[in-house]
Symmetry: C2
Subunit: 414 residues, 2 copies
């Protein structure tokens, strides 16, 4: 621990100068292992596999419920601050035995990812941009003093896991094996500090298409009485901490007939209170708006300013839009936009489409947004469930995920 | 689920009116059991006790570390959304067996309390304002869709637990049995929604005085690059979610020689950026400031505006100050105050004392605050570790906790 003696003291009558006399923190908040790269290493070659002796029966496709049933096995790795990552294990899916003082249960030392394994027409198993999930999980865990890890080595382990449990990956388009990597702090003490031990594990749940009967447009309620994230907070990280506080506003929206709530962020700009669109909590949000003057269509989503999750599908949509919509005359923007702009566009017939994006549904068309006591119609005709951009994005991304668009670098054949 | 059909639609060319056509949310966000009081009931008479067959050895007083060692038993109650709270159990302290998909491990469905059991000179066991802890825990759990519970019935169970494990309560002044009630969501699904089952449990750790050799003044680093809480967020609730994100800033402060960090909240007031003092993350903060004009001493702490924890010791200090310091000419204020005010008071010799308050240390004197590259001296002479108000508050509150101030309503003899 550094000493305070070297610092200038502000004593009575002394002047407080805004000098920078001690080292300013980095903008990237470092994990406890940051100073020792050895603590991040994973040796995938040391994997031990213990196969189940009681394989589960596969659940019929039409009975799959998201995150309710799991495959035969789980992958897990323990970490200690003295030894780093220990040898990985694949074991039968089983309960964790945790001391009631374990820090994950008290102080939310937990960060996770959502990703999927797909089966293509030839029966190959594929992952979609797993490098993005590894990078994000490393960023998330570092923010809460959990250990970072070697992403490529963990992907190697995920591949072996997927091979072993590949019978749980349904072959039909729209079906997949949802993969849930999760890291928890396992130190058994109530002292609030960086965990001296952690567990990184992965479980897998076979899932069907989010909308089994095709797209179904949803309605969102814009939430103004609660705030999900704040600049300087942890809203950009995939932490457990960001989820539990979102449930009650989501339940309240549901009680009023909305499928999800839309989180706004209020700010006074030029003396005027504006409510900025951020995200849905489980999805990022996109709007297609025609320019008031030129009529140019614009695909817009909130920027990565620390208050929204850095969605892998969000990033994919932006890339595809820049590659495939810009040549058609579209403008693609990551910029702040507020509800007044959305309302005005809706009133003037310039709001073409709104959709959410996320791993679960890929894209999710939005019919209307409840806001300030009214309902904003998002441009979808009454007899349609998805607009053309929403539909094309779904087709493009699923085409890549299921290997139909051959050789695309986002699809990793394993 | 309500239907959307009754709501007015904002269609192209329609005008968005800020009418209130659907029910506005309550300011108090309700728990899932709010509509059914039966789900909150606890029947303390149904308690079953299974005593340990391997009692632990008591740890010598000088080897006690906060939250590291636990008493022989634990108290636990399960809840389901269909049956409410099941019969309570006291069992030997033991591991929890949790499915790896349990929602507490992914979405931070967890809220806790910190309280203590004291042994007075006559050997009686005493609790300090346990009703405040129960009220706060109920508020915390409701905010994250965990079930609320009958506070007085749970206190009854805590009393029986303390009687059973009373040998773990050291008799010396300054020593106590730290009690940790904790509630976790136990539903085994990755779907993000209100947990259909929960576990409320209590574990206990014998603890020594926070400063075994008497007071020791600490130094705080004011954190400006990260934000703990914000209006409309959950900073006022004792949720796990509020703790993990605080560790890295705390580690960074420690690396620069500070014991804790002080969370500020920035706001522009009359065109000027002000950094308001909020809390320390593990403590509330008090300052004693002499009025610039009148010289009247003021005890000031941040108000309960949703961004700070509603500390039991904070509330106790305010009550005692109103009762015992106001007659001496003090002003007692719960109001917003910013770093510019603190700096100005320090520069002009008007900053008399600063201290933190919390269950662990009762009060914790602050020597200096690192801010903007300088160090604010908080009015403590170099050869002293605590100011007079800090010392008196400690004596008053400990006097009540240990039953030395007889018959005080805050001390519950069990």
């Amino acid at each position: 621990m550094a000493t305070l003696r070297a610092l200038p003291r502000i004593t009575p009558r002394a002047i407080l100068r805004p000098q920078c006399l001690y080292r300013r923190p980095n903008s990237s908040l470092a994990a406890p292992d940051a100073s020792n790269p050895k603590l991040q290493q994973i040796d995938a070659s040391k994997l031990t596999i213990t196969k189940t002796t009681t394989p589960k029966e596969l659940i019929p496709h039409d009975q799959l419920i998201f995150g309710r049933n799991f495959s035969d096995h789980m992958l897990s790795l323990e970490w200690t601050s003295t030894h780093g990552w220990l040898a990985p294990n694949i074991t039968p899916y089983q309960n964790l035995s945790l001391d009631p003082a374990t820090c994950v249960l008290h102080y939310a030392f937990e960060a996770f990812e959502g990703m999927k394994a797909y089966k293509d027409k030839s029966g190959n198993v594929r992952l979609f941009r797993p490098d993005m999930n590894m990078a994000r999980l490393n960023k998330s865990v570092a923010r809460i003093a959990l250990p970072t890890f070697d992403g490529p080595a963990f992907i190697e382990l995920i591949k072996q896991f997927c091979q072993l449990d590949s019978r749980f990956i349904p072959s039909a388009r729209g079906y997949s094996l949802y993969l849930r990597p999760n890291m928890i702090g396992t130190q058994r003490t109530l002292g609030v500090g960086p965990p001296g031990s952690a567990l990184l594990y992965l479980i897998a749940s076979p899932v069907g298409p989010y909308y089994p009967t095709g797209f179904k447009a949803i309605s969102l309620e814009a939430t103004t009485y609660a705030v999900r994230a704040w600049p300087g907070g942890v809203g950009a990280s995939k932490l457990g901490a960001n989820y539990a506080p979102c449930i009650v506003p989501q339940m309240q929206a549901a009680a009023r007939g909305f499928q999800q709530n839309l989180w706004l962020f209020e700010e006074v700009v030029d003396g005027r209170k504006e409510e900025y669109v951020t995200e849905v909590g489980t999805m990022n949000l996109f709007a297609c708006i025609k320019d008031k003057k030129t009529g140019q269509p614009e695909l817009v989503t909130a920027p990565l300013d620390g208050t929204i999750l850095e969605g892998v599908v969000r990033d994919s949509i932006l890339s595809l839009a820049r590659e495939r919509l810009v040549p058609e005359g579209w403008k693609v923007s990551e910029r702040r936009f507020h509800m007044r702009e959305v309302c005005e566009a809706a009133e003037e017939g310039r709001l073409m489409e709104v959709f959410g994006s996320g791993t679960a549904a890929v894209v999710s068309p939005v019919r209307s947004i409840g806001y300030n006591g009214g309902l904003i119609s998002c441009g979808l005709p009454e007899d349609k469930e998805a607009g053309p951009v929403t539909q094309r994005m779904k087709d493009w991304i699923e085409g890549i995920q299921y290997g139909e668009e051959e050789g695309h670098p986002w699809s990793w054949k394993i």
